[in-house]
Amino acid sequence: MSARPPTYTKFRDVQAELERSGSAVYRDAEGVESLIVRSPYTINYVHSYAEDSPFFLGLAEGKLRGSKCRKPKCGFVYGTPRSHCMVCGAPTEWIDLPTRGRVHSWTTCHFGSEAFLKETPYNLALVEFEGVGSLLLVRLRDCVESDLYVGMPIEARFDPNPKYSITDVWFVPSK
């Protein structure tokens, strides 16, 4: 199936208008015609980090925060903070995470969502921290695909000009 020039030769003004607007008439093998128009839309979405906010505010201060279940019998420690414990349901408290960890798994993305295509290739890693029960997903910089391996020691870096995004922190190979 391919875009064909409109065939409404009697209505040249229609054809010109279609072309100007980026619209087109498609015709399939059975000769069925479909009119395609384009309608861009953008939004400015108001996103609240809500109960996760202290984590993102922490990044701006160069701090990596996790959380720990307040129930002494449970005490699960989260590498990605959760405000309530997924194991026992009790509230958690904020803790400082180590800024050094190891690669639990990794990949190099050669594509991404449209918004991130200009940043390719980029590395992702799940970080494991000593004494912490869950992981943290981050970008891994200052290294390339062939440098990466499971178990690689890495450490956190923080953006001095925070954008209030998870990308305010990234990890690099430990020296």
Binding site: T80, C109, H110
Partner: protein, 444 residues
């Protein structure tokens, strides 16, 4: 289940909107059973994944309307990638509960309306938008993270356990894993050569798959399903009516659904929920599920098998239509569904168990026919119009069990020899929700 229909899945169907696609699949389904007229349908369950792709809220109401189903009852079903599988189970529940005698399940997706990478963005909005999405918004990246760890657990610590140099061992393990994933891709694309509904039937070699574009290391383009436009319908009813409508009904004998954390990073390290044929000591040292396995798939399998009375799935199932959004997740899912033990997925592929007998894949498949997985070609070769996919699997499984593949495909190659029982498996997110349904031949 008494009938089903599918549109050809395609990159784009500009001449059909979602309503017309569903109508085509619905008309095909009705054509097969003249005794079932529209007035006998009590209500519908209609599925599509993303309002972003449809850009039409209440699109399910528009399908209901277009099919002339008003004023009957209807509900829209959405459950990420497992939307179609969940819709199938919702229709099953409507009938099993006695609420309806006859229920239509219909699903669709029109993913061609945005460019591929915008589409990836819409899909990635089904990952945590605080912690995951802003890192790249890329599902293939998440699956790559999972398979790199799966390869580490089972190939690095398995067949490459004796390699002393850690980085060399991991490099060798990933190369081996990539080669074996490519066998799965070749299988599914080759099977699809005989399925006229498939979007990307093609003859490939392992080298072709490995040489295709790197999307997110180590996953290459041919190891990943694509976005599609398409629709699928099934009609379910109670047993008495099934025999009135067709002499070849298919019985749904088990349904299961499981879930897991939205974020990969939150997956705990605990114990494996066991299937009847497994023992706790099989997995003593295995941190589970971590990011390498799908606990939701395991849970869904356990529930569905228990209901269907299945204790040894490898012996008691004749085929599976499995949600192979990635060649990697097909291998991971063999283990979750107990077709082999955790850690044996790569051997299972190399031995040829999930391949069809009598098809030339270009390499030896000694155990072919043990349990054909994705005889239709799966998502990798058929396409993945999300809301339709799980229902497409139901239709293909239905035709297999009826023995009518030749009639519907115009080609007898993929028809298995008198299959008695099959499973369909639908999978969402990074494994955050999974459904498994068991279908059995309901006639002698």
């Amino acid at each position: 289940m008494v009938t089903g229909g599918v549109t050809k899945f395609a990159k784009a169907h500009p001449a059909m909107d979602f309503r017309l696609m569903v109508k085509r699949a619905y008309d095909y389904a009705l054509k097969g059973i003249p005794n079932l007229t529209a007035d006998r349908i009590d209500g519908t369950r209609i599925s599509y994944f993303s309002d972003h792709f449809a850009r039409q809220l209440k699109a399910a109401s528009m399908v209901q309307d277009y099919l002339g189903m008003n004023p009957k009852g209807s509900v829209r079903i959405e459950w990420g990638g497992a939307t179609g599988g969940e819709c199938f189970q919702a229709a099953y529940e409507a009938v099993a509960s006695g609420r309806m005698d006859v229920c239509l399940a219909a699903g669709f997706e029109t993913m061609s309306r945005v460019p591929t990478w915008k589409g990836n963005e819409f899909i990635a909005l089904a990952s945590d938008t605080n912690f995951d999405f802003p890192l790249g918004g890329f599902y293939t990246g998440y699956y790559a993270l999972m398979v790199v760890r799966h390869i580490y657990e089972y190939l690095r610590l398995g067949r490459f356990a004796n390699v002393k140099d850690e980085r060399e061992a991991q490099r060798l393990a990933i190369a081996e894993g990539s080669r074996i994933m490519s066998l799965v891709s070749v299988k599914n694309h080759t099977n699809a050569l005989h399925n006229p509904y498939a979007q990307y039937p093609k003859r490939l070699t392992v080298d072709d798959v490995l040489a295709s574009e790197m999307i997110s290391f180590p996953l290459t383009r041919e190891q990943i399903c694509t976005m599609s436009d398409g629709a699928a319908c099934v009609i379910l009813c109670d047993e008495a009516r099934a025999k009135e409508f067709t002499d070849k009904p298919v019985q749904i004998t088990g349904v299961g659904c499981g879930t897991d954390t939205m974020r990969l990073a939150d997956r705990p390290f605990g114990h494996v929920p066991l299937l009847p044929h497994e023992k706790a000591k099989d997995y003593e040292d295995l941190p589970y599920p971590g990011v390498h396995s799908f606990r939701a798939g395991r849970s869904a399998g356990i529930e569905a098998y228990r209901m269907a009375g299945i204790t040894r799935p490898i012996r008691e199932l004749d085929f599976i239509e499995l949600h192979d959004a990635y060649a990697s997740s097909e291998i991971q899912t063999y283990e979750d569904l107990g077709l082999c033990r955790y850690g044996e997925g790569y051997d299972f592929v190399e031995h040829g168990d999930p391949f069809l007998k009598g098809i030339d894949y270009g390499f030896p498949v000694p155990n072919a026919g043990t349990i054909p997985v994705n005889p239709s070609g799966g998502l990798i070769a058929c396409g993945h119009p999300v809301g339709a996919t799980g229902l497409m699997q139901a239709v293909f499984a239905f035709w297999q069990l009826q023995g009518t593949v030749a009639k519907h495909f115009g080609d007898p190659t993929l028809q298995l020899k008198q299959p008695r029982r099959g499973a369909i498996h639908s999978h969402a997110g990074t494994g955050s929700s999974v459904t498994v349904s068991i279908l059995e031949r309901g006639f002698r």
